[in-house]
C-alpha cells in the first residue's frame, strides 16, 4: 500500500438495505486487491432479511474469489471487465465488474460484485445486461472520484506537510450505494412483476373480436409499429393498471421470451420507478394524471424508447438507434466531464451533478411523433383480425409474422455484410437495399433495422452514423459562428 495511509482495517463495513419485496440478491460487495494481503473485501451490501442465506464470512470468501487471478489482469486502459461465476458447489452466481483505479494513492484492481443464489440463474440472465450497464456507469463515476480524491490528498499533504490519517476511500461507498440499492430494487420488482416468458394471446389486444374493440385501430398500429422501430423498447403509462398491462402484454408478444423476462408489468397499488434498460415496462400515473420520466435514465437506456399513453392514446418515439447512441454518449461524456470538474462532494451526489453544470444543452424533445409509416405491421393487423379468435390461429399467424421479420433482419445484415465486405468498405447503396429487400417504406426499414440492431449491435451507427455525425458536427461548427 502507499505510504499515504495505512492498510485499511480488515473489518468489513456492511450496509443493510430494507426492501419492499423479496430480494433475489444475496449481497453486493466491493473488494480490492491489496498489494500485501491480496484480495480484500471493503464493503458489503445486503438486503435486510430474517433468514441469512450467506454469512458475512461466506460473502467475504466469495468476494475474495472474484479478484483471485486478477493479479494477472491484462486489460486495456480504462476497461471495466465483467466476470460471471456459477459456483454450483456453493450454490451461488456472482457477477463481478473488475476495474483498475487509484484509491488512496495506489493504483490497484477493484471488483464490484453482486451475489445471487444459483436458483435465480434463469431469472438473472435476461437482466444481466441491465445490471452490468448500470453498475458500469457508476464505476466510471466512482473511478473519477477516487482519482480526484487522491489528487486532493496529495495537494493537501504538500500544503500541510502532514498525512491524512482518516480513511480516504470511503466516499466511493456512498456513491456505489446510490446505484446498488436501485439495482436491488429493480431485481426485487422484476421478481414480482416481470412479464412471463409465455404470454397467452387471450390476455392481449390481439384477442379482440375485431380491431378497435379495446383500443383505437390507429393507436394500436402506431404503438406496435413504433415499438418495433425502437428495438422493442417501450414505456406504457396510464391511469389503469389493467389497461396498461394489457398493452404491455400485447407489445411483449413481439419480443423474444428472453426479452419478455426483461420486461415489467405495472403495479396496481403504486407505480414503480422508471428503470433504464428494460424492454417494456408499465408505469402508473400519479394522482395528478402524469408520470415524470427521468431524462437521464431514458437517455441511458441501451435502445431508444417508445412512449405510449393508454389514456390519451398517444405514441411518441425517440430518435433511431444511431442518433440515440450518439446523444447518449455525448450526455455520458458531459456528465463524466462535469464530474471531473466538480469541486465538492455535494456536487457529485447522484442525479444532481447535471443541474450545476450549465454547459449541457441536451435536446429535451427526445420523444417525437411517429413519423414513418410502415406496411408490415399494418398488413399484419389487417389480416390477424380476420382470423377467428380463441383458437391458436392468431398465435400461429403472429409467429409467422415475427419469423418473417427476423429473417428479413438477417437478410438485411447479410446484404450489408456482403455489400461492405464485412465492414471493410463504406455502405453506399441504401436506396438499392430498400428496393432489393422491399423495404421502401421508411417504417418498414426502421423495423427491420431495429431488429437487425439487436442481433448485430452497431449496425445503425455503421450505416447511418457517419453522415449523421458529420451533419451534427457541421451544425455545431456553424453554431459557433
Amino acid at each position: 500500500m502507499s505510504t499515504l495511509c495505512p492498510p485499511p482495517s480488515p473489518a468489513v463495513a456492511k450496509t443493510e438495505i430494507a426492501l419492499n419485496g423479496d430480494s433475489p440478491l444475496l449481497a453486493a460487495t466491493f473488494a480490492y486487491w491489496d498489494n500485501i494481503l491480496g484480495p480484500r473485501v471493503r464493503h458489503i451490501w445486503a438486503p435486510k432479511k430474517q433468514q441469512l442465506l450467506l454469512s458475512d464470512g461466506e460473502i467475504t470468501f466469495l468476494a475474495n474469489h472474484t479478484l483471485n487471478g486478477e493479479i494477472l489482469r491484462n486489460a486495456e486502459s480504462g476497461a471495466i471487465d465483467v466476470k460471471f461465476f456459477v459456483l454450483s458447489e456453493k450454490g451461488v452466481i456472482i457477477v463481478s465488474l473488475i476495474f483498475d483505479g487509484n484509491w488512496n494513492g495506489d493504483r490497484s484492481t477493484y471488483g464490484l460484485s453482486i451475489i445471487l443464489p444459483q436458483s435465480e440463474l434463469s431469472f438473472y440472465l435476461p437482466l444481466h445486461r441491465v445490471c452490468v450497464d448500470r453498475l458500469t456507469h457508476i464505476i466510471r463515476k466512482g473511478r473519477i472520484w477516487m482519482h480526484k480524491e487522491r489528487q486532493e490528498n496529495v495537494q493537501k499533504i504538500v500544503l500541510e506537510g502532514t498525512e491524512r490519517m482518516e480513511d480516504q476511500g470511503q466516499s466511493i461507498i456512498p456513491m456505489l450505494t446510490g446505484e446498488v440499492i436501485p439495482v436491488m430494487e429493480l431485481l426485487s420488482s422484476m421478481k414480482s412483476h416481470s412479464v412471463p416468458e409465455e404470454i397467452n394471446i387471450s390476455d392481449t389486444v390481439l384477442n379482440d373480436d375485431d380491431i378497435g374493440d379495446s383500443c383505437h385501430e390507429g393507436f394500436l398500429l402506431n404503438a406496435i409499429s413504433s415499438h418495433l422501430q425502437t428495438c422493442g423498447c417501450s414505456v406504457v403509462v396510464g391511469s389503469s393498471a389493467d389497461k396498461v398491462n394489457k398493452i404491455v402484454r400485447t407489445l411483449c408478444l413481439f419480443l423474444t421470451p428472453s426479452e419478455r423476462k426483461c420486461s415489467r408489468l405495472c403495479r396496481n397499488e403504486s407505480s414503480f420507478k422508471y428503470e433504464s434498460g428494460l424492454f417494456v415496462q408499465g408505469l402508473l400515473k400519479d394522482s395528478t394524471g402524469s408520470f415524470v420520466l427521468p431524462f437521464r435514465q431514458v437517455m441511458y437506456a441501451p435502445y431508444p424508447t417508445t412512449h405510449i399513453d393508454v389514456d390519451v392514446n398517444t405514441v411518441k418515439q425517440m430518435p433511431p438507434c444511431h442518433e440515440h447512441i450518439y446523444n447518449q454518449r455525448r450526455y455520458m461524456r458531459s456528465e463524466l466531464t462535469a464530474f471531473w470538474r466538480a469541486t465538492s462532494e455535494e456536487d457529485v451526489a447522484q442525479d444532481t451533478i447535471i443541474y450545476t453544470d450549465e454547459s449541457f444543452t441536451p435536446d429535451l424533445n427526445v420523444f417525437q411523433d411517429v413519423l414513418h409509416r410502415d406496411t408490415l405491421v399494418k398488413a399484419f393487423l389487417d389480416q390477424v383480425f380476420h382470423l377467428k379468435p380463441g383458437l391458436s390461429l392468431r398465435s400461429t399467424f403472429l409467429a409467422q409474422f415475427l419469423l418473417v421479420l427476423h429473417r428479413k433482419a438477417l437478410t438485411l445484415i447479410k446484404y450489408i455484410e456482403d455489400d461492405t465486405q464485412k465492414g471493410k468498405k463504406p455502405f453506399k447503396s441504401l436506396r438499392n437495399l430498400k428496393i432489393d429487400l422491399d423495404l421502401t417504406a421508411e417504417g418498414d426499414l426502421n423495423i427491420i433495422m431495429a431488429l437487425a440492431e439487436k442481433i448485430k449491435p452497431g449496425l445503425h451507427s455503421f450505416i447511418f452514423g457517419r453522415p449523421f455525425y458529420t451533419s451534427v458536427q457541421e451544425r455545431d461548427v456553424l453554431m459557433t459562428f
Binding site: 480504462g78 415524470v292 447512441i325 450518439y326 462535469a338 471531473w340 391458436s392 403472429l398 437478410t411 432489393d436
Partner: protein
Amino acid sequence: MISAPDVVAFTKEEEYEEEPYNEPPLPEEYSVPLFPFANQGANPWSKLSGAKFTRDFILISEFSEQVGPQPLLTIPDDTKVFGTFDLNYFSLRIMSVDYQASFVGHPSGCAYPKLNFVEDSKVVLGDSKEGAFAYVHHLTLYDLEARGFVRPFCMAYISTDEHKIMQQFQELSAEFSKASECLKKGNRKAFANELEKKLKDLDYTRTVLHTETEIQKKANDKWFYSSQAIEKANELASVEKSIIEHQDLLKQIRSYPHRKLKASDCYPAVEPDCSQDQSADQASTTSKPDEPAETNLYRRRPSYTPKLIKAKSAKCFDKKLKTLEELCDTEFFTQTLAQLNHIEHMFRGDLCYLLTSQIDRALLKQQRITNFLFEDLFILDDKVVEKQDDMPLEYSQDKLHARSLEDCPIPKVLINVGSFKSSVESVLIKMEQELGDEFKESEVTESSVYDHQENLDYLDMDMKGSVSSGESIEVLGTEKSTSVLSKSDSQASLTVPLSPQVVRSKAVSRRTISEDSIEVLSTCPSEALIPDDFKASYPSAINEEPYVEEPYADDDGAIHFSASVSQQDLGEIEGSSENTLSQTDSACCIGKESSGLLIPNSDQTQKHCDEDGVVSIPPQRYREKQQGFHVDFSVDDINSSSQENTTEGLSPYDQDPNCLRSSRDLSKISLNEYGDSTSYISSAASTSSDRTPSPAHHIGLSSERHKKKAGQNALKFIRQYPFAHPAIYSLLSGRTLIVLGEDEAIVKKLVTALSIFVPNYGKSAKPVKHWVSSPLHIMDFQKWKLIGLQR
C-alpha cells in the same frame, strides 16, 4: 404526459460538449468513446483490435501439480486457429483460481482421505487486451497418484465476442456439462479400476510380507526381533493401513451420490466392458446390492496380475502423471472429444446467425399447424433426434412416434394416389405403386379425422396453404408448346372445410382443361402472392397447353404405371386417371405436371432406388426425417394414433427406422410431400435481361464456396432469363423444377444457381439433382425439388 423537470436547468443555449476549462480535461481512460466505432476500421464485424485469433476454439487446460497451469489440447487441433494467442498465459489466467474449494475444507478428525465430489464451476471471463473472452468449465478428476487424489482441469470455449459467450451461456453450460459428465464418468470408472488393481497389489504384497514375516518368525530362535523383522512388521502394518484406506476410497467412489448421477446427462449410454463385467470377479471389497447402477462400472477386470509394491508410494516430481485419456478411459475420452467437437461446430460463427436460428426454432415451434407447408419440421427437433440416436432403438422409436403424434395437432390429409396426373412431354416418368390400401385408408380418414370444429378450421387453413404451393398446375417459360397432363385443384374448392377426399375429387372435377401449352398461375390459389409486375412482365411466357390423357405409357411413353393394384383400385384408377395423364409434345422445352402422388411399395422403391442411377438414395438422416414427417401427416397415423395412444404399441413399419417407406406407409401420402406441382424450364431459354430484387440468402449448411458460386450464378440467372421470376417462384412455393437442356455443363450450372432457392436446402436434405440423363422416375419428384435433365 411527458415531462422532464429534472433537466430544466439544461435549457440554457450553450454548447453541448464540454467547454475548454482551465482544468485538465477528463482523461480518456475515464471517459467513454463518442462513437461506437472510434477505432480505425472498426465496424460491427470487426474483431477486437487485440484479438490474435480468428475463430472460436476450445481449450482444455490442467492445473498440473508439477508444472502449474498448462494447456493440454485445443479443438480444432490446428495451430492456425489460435494463431499467436498465448495459450500458456491464458491457461494460467483461467486456472489460477480454485473455484471449487470448499468452505470448510476437509472434515477434521477423519482417519482416511476423503474424496470430495465437487460440482463443476462455470466462469465467464475475458482478457480485453488480448481480445479473448471465455466460458470456462472447471472440473476435477481423480487420480490415485495425484496430490490429494485430484487433478483439476478446465475446458474453455474461447471467442473474441464477449456478448456471444454471455448470450449463449446456458447453451454452452449445458453442452459442456455433458462433456464434463462424460469425462467424470470415465474417470470414476478408471479410478475404481486403478483402486482395484492397487488393492490387489496391496493384497498380494501383504501376503508376501506376511509369508516373509512368518518365515522370519520361524527362523528366529532367539527371544527378540531383529531390526529386519521389525522393519518387515512395520511394512506389513503400513500395507494393512493402505489396504483399509484404499478400500475406503473404493467404497467412496462406488457410492458416488446417486442424485448427481441422475442429474448427469452423460452419453456413453451403453457402458463399455459390460460383457466383461458379467464375468468379472468381485473386488476384495464387494459392492452392496443396492448400490447405484453405476457401480457395475467399477467391477474389476479379470486379467490383472498383482505385483509386489512398496507400501508407501513415492510422491515426487519425477513421476509421470497420467494423461487425460488415461484418466478417463479411452472410450469416454473419445466421446468427450466428439462432444467438444460438436460444441465447437454448434457455436462457431457469427452470433447473429446463432441468435436468429434460435429465434427461428422458437417461432417455428409455435407454427406446428402450418409448418408442414414451408419448413423442415425436423430442424426443430434436431436435439431430440440426436438424443434418440443414442437411445436404444425401441425407446427411440417409441419416442419418435409419440412426438410425432403430439406435435401434430392438425388433421391429416390424404392425397389420392390414383388421382396423379403427369404432363411431361419428353420426360420419362416411371410410376410404380401399391394402391391396395389406399381406398380403405381414405375411408378411415373421412370417418376419423374431422371431429372437431377447431380441426375444421385448421383444415381450412392447411388446405389453402398446401394447395397454393402444391396442387395447382404451372408451366413456365417456353420456346415450344407442350401438351400438358395435369391435375389441379382450384382454391375455391379448398376453402370449404371438406374432407380431403372430397376436396380432391371436387378439385379434379373443377379443373378446366386448357388448350395452351402453359397453365397458369391464375389457377393457382397462390396467385394473390404473385406480384403484379411479375404477371405483367412475362405474358408471352405463360401459355396454356392442351393435354392428352394417357394413364399408362409404355417404354416409349413418358410415364409408367406399374404397380400391384387391386382390382377395385384399378377400376378406380382407370376411371379417374383417364383424365390425368397427357403426353407432352416432344419438341417442347417446358412442361409441367402436378406432383407425383404415386407411391410404390417399399420393396419396389428400394429396388428402383438401387437400380436406377437417376434416383440416388438421400442421406439416411434425411430419410428418417421423411419418415417422421410422413408420420405426422399421414392419414393412417391419425387412425393408428387413436389406437396407439391407448395401447402404446407401434406398427412394425413405424418401429423400423431403416424401413424408409413401408408399402403401408407409402400408400399414404403427406400433403406437402407429394402435393407439389412440378415445373420445367429450359436452359435454352431466351436471354433477355431482367432486373429483379436480389434474392434473400439462404442460410444452409452447404459449403461456403458452393453457396458463393450458387449466389453469383443465381444473380446471373435472374438477370439473364425472363422466366427467372416464375422459376424461382416455383421453387420457393415448393414445386419441383426441372431444367431441361442438352449441354450438361450449362444445366448443371443453372441447377447450382437455382439450388439456393430450394427450401430446406441444407446439409441434411439436398433435394437437388444436378444432372439426370435417364428417364425420370415418379419417385424422383418426391425426392428432388430441382432436377437437371438431359433433353
